[in-house]
């Protein structure tokens, strides 16, 4: 049988429809498509895809089960390596990980590994007859700080080994960036809640509203009997460009804009948490967070949304699929553009004019690419005299974050690097005995799956430390 050279397409909502709702964009494979896509896997001997996966899911094995319709078996194979399959199937950058290594990809399009993972995870989650079971306790207690992807992964891996795990979450809902950052249309919150429920079935306790570094300190956790601690406290305070006008009303960090919409549900009609809806919006930055913010703005009712990015399409760090989706939905990309200042309304005759202090526009300058910089990417250089203004009333800064200082400031002996990231060794161990860390708290803003990889590594190290 000849191999289909192309991946089976993911059924999606029409761009013109989805641009106006918060429902999931990608609808998922049907059983028929999933089996057909699985047939494309060559089941090659050296399995390069497994090495391409940060948590080393046994990819060919689970795909082989799909071929024969054994979907639950496929799920069980994935869940041996990953605590969050339904999440990863949606938000992993498979094109630069497992799928980039796929043997089929040398000649054709690689196997749609992420889409298959999502299919089996969704099917499993739709079944109410299967519950995860807590394994027999090994008597050890571990605390996890933060319930984002690294914390959930670390908790899941340890719980499966019999550890008594408690997750401490600062916000009121578990999930970290999966609930406050990634929008509903890309990752429905019910899926995150389901993954958290699975962990609870494994015996994991989740304590919300506890801010480690404030409500409790790392030292107090040890006093409470935890023998090891994993810190996955995530990204911290948003970065701004330090250009004039960033304090005007209508300028948001991406964290704030997305938190208002996602966690606080400001996208609903009559929300309790306000957000600026409609109008013209500029999102500054080119990562996945920028795409999420831009597409959220569109769905909130913006008449025009720009992505303003200082390099070219080639350097754009967001996932290709997200960029394509954004373009299809009508978001305009101002590539090789850099903001110089944000302009605001000011009525000199009336200091009480309610419009005072709101954004009216943004001045940008055109850029060109010069010599490569330290990152190997060509450095963007401003083109003199090319300044111009765009007419916007909301600006979202999506240019990264700096690590949160709360834990560092209250934990003696926990060292951080120049950027504030917690220093860890190759086992995920910090400079404090028994304290491990991973995810954005260590690396600065990165991906969900790399955070999961770090959580997994830490779980392995903690197990060796306590049981080795």
């Amino acid at each position: 049988m000849a191999i289909n050279p192309k991946k089976h397409e993911m059924p999606t909502q029409e761009a013109s429809v989805r641009a106006h709702n918060f429902n999931e964009v990608a609808l998922g494979y049907t059983e028929e498509i999933a089996v057909a896509e699985a047939q494309r896997c060559l089941n090659c001997k050296n399995q390069p895809c497994v090495a391409g996966c940060p948590v080393n899911i046994h990819i060919p094995e689970f795909i082989a089960q799909i071929k024969t319709g054994n979907f639950e078996e496929a799920y069980q194979i994935i869940s041996k390596s990953s605590s969050l399959p339904a999440v990863c199937g949606r938000v992993c950058p498979q094109e630069s990980q497992c799928e980039s290594k796929c043997t089929l990809g040398i000649k054709f399009e690689p196997v749609g590994i992420g889409r298959l993972e999502r299919y089996v995870a969704d099917l499993h989650n739709s079944r109410t007859d299967i519950k995860a079971e807590a394994p027999e306790s090994n008597g050890h207690k571990v605390a996890i700080v933060g319930s984002g992807p690294s914390g959930l992964t670390c908790a899941g891996d340890l719980a499966k080994k019999g550890y008594k795990v408690t997750i401490y979450e600062a916000l009121h809902t578990a999930g970290g960036v999966l609930v406050y950052g990634i929008p509903e249309f890309r990752l429905p919150k019910s899926i995150v809640a389901k993954e958290v429920d699975t962990l609870k079935e494994l015996g994991v306790d989740v304590e919300t509203n506890v801010i480690i570094g404030k409500t409790l300190t790392i030292d107090e956790l040890f006093d409470m009997g935890y023998e090891a601690i994993f810190v996955g406290s995530g990204a911290g305070l948003p970065n701004f460009m330090n250009i004039p006008g960033e304090s005007l009303k209508g300028v948001y960090s991406a964290n704030e804009f997305l938190t208002r919409s996602n966690l606080m549900k400001a996208y609903r009609t009559n929300p309790v948490t306000p957000i600026m809806k409609g109008g013209k919006v500029a999102v500054v930055g080119g990562g996945n967070v920028a795409m999420d913010a831009a597409r959220t703005a569109l769905r909130l009712g913006a008449e025009k949304v720009y992505i303003v990015y200082r390099r070219s399409l080639e350097e754009l760090p967001a996932r290709k699929e997200e960029v394509e989706h954004a373009m299809e939905e009508g978001i305009e990309f101002l590539l090789l553009h850099n903001p110089l200042q944000i302009l605001g309304y000011n009525n000199p005759d009336d200091p009480r004019d309610p419009k005072n202090g709101f954004v009216t526009g943004m001045q940008c300058i055109r850029m060109e690419l010069g010599e490569p910089d330290q990152s190997g990417r060509r450095r963007p250089v401003p083109i003199e005299g090319s300044e111009f203004e765009i007419d916007v009333d909301t600006v979202v800064m999506a240019i990264g974050t700096s690590p949160n200082p709360l834990i560092k400031n209250t934990t003696a002996g926990l060292e951080v690097n120049r950027r504030g990231g917690i220093i860890v060794n190759e086992d995920g161990l910090t400079t404090r005995k028994g304290v491990y860390a991973g995810g954005d708290a260590v690396t600065g803003a990165a991906t969900v799956i790399s955070a999961m990889g770090a959580g997994k590594l830490a779980a392995k190290s903690i197990d060796e430390y306590l049981n080795g």
Binding site: A170, H172, N209, G236, N255, E256, P274, P354, L406
Partner: protein, 284 residues
């Protein structure tokens, strides 16, 4: 869930509640704040801690009904529960080396100024308090301030009680008369704090202001609470939730902070109206 242990109105728009939150109570210090959500669908609002009892495991909050959430909060009864109550957040008010302090509170800000005054009193500092209100009917906490202050000045804008005028009047008189404070700490409306700073400036007294910007997470994640400080001629962005809420009054850009706090004014007014209508319907 966090139980409302007690509730009492301090005036027609200001209410005091004691909330059962043992972990927060154990750590709470004057100047810090909490974030709460009233119910499952509620918004997160920051409220400064107005006192705490580590033994009872309770935290006192005092709030003014200004928007939808505070309206809903005010309808909660003793014995009922709040959905979320997280903290203590922010940096506690610095007390080291301060032997003689002037506490200047305005309106509901007095609720936050009170535990600060009490703390200095407990530490043995000489405490002068100035508390100001628009009029007599919204006066709160006078007795509490009397107890912890060596001197107390009560002011009303309209002269309906005590002395007429705003809080800067007695402050200026004292400074003019050569009174030396190690620190002036002011908590209240932004415009009042701005004028306390301006009043103190010619006399070269350090002023700490307690900022109350709009917040969402309150834990150093969203950046909504940012404000600009002018330090050595440079504009520096700070975050009230982790760097504050106390700041050097001479450095704060008050005009910007006032503008930012007005961002959702229309929304809030509308939300409160909606909440009021909802409760009215419920009563009928």
């Amino acid at each position: 869930m966090y139980r409302i242990v007690s509730k009492k109105p301090l005036n027609s728009t200001v209410t005091q509640m004691e909330i059962e939150a043992p972990l927060v109570a154990k750590k709470a210090k004057p100047g810090q704040f909490i974030i709460l959500r009233v119910d499952e669908e509620g918004e997160r609002i920051p409220l400064t801690i107005a006192g705490s009892d580590a033994e009872k495991g309770t935290v006192k909050i005092i709030f003014q009904i200004v928007g939808g959430t505070t309206e809903i909060l005010n309808h909660k009864k003793e014995g009922e529960y709040l959905q979320d109550f997280a903290g203590p957040l922010g940096v506690a008010t610095h007390t080291d080396g301060i032997k003689k302090v002037c506490i200047v509170g305005g309106g509901v800000g007095c609720a936050i100024a009170m535990p600060v005054a009490q703390e200095f009193h407990r530490l043995g500092a000489e405490v002068t308090s100035i508390i100001g209100f628009r009029s007599k009917d919204i006066l709160i906490l006078e007795d509490e301030f009397k107890e912890c202050s060596d001197r107390l000045f009560v002011m009303t804008d309209d002269g309906s009680y005590a002395r007429k005028g705003n809080v800067t009047v007695p402050l200026k008189e004292m400074l003019e008369a050569g009174e030396k404070f190690d620190m002036i700490i002011t908590i209240g409306p932004l415009i009042m704090m701005k004028f306390v700073v301006l009043t103190a400036k010619p006399y070269d007294v350090p002023v700490t202001v307690s900022m109350n910007p709009i917040m969402i997470d309150g834990t150093g994640m969203c950046g909504c609470c940012r404000l600009t400080l002018h330090q050595d001629g440079k504009a520096v962005t700070k975050f009230a939730c982790v760097d504050g809420p106390d700041f050097n009054g001479y450095e704060v850009d008050f005009d910007e902070a006032m503008s930012r706090n007005r961002m959702y004014m229309d929304f809030e007014a509308h939300a409160r109206e909606e909440a009021c209508n909802l409760f009215k319907k419920g009563e009928n």
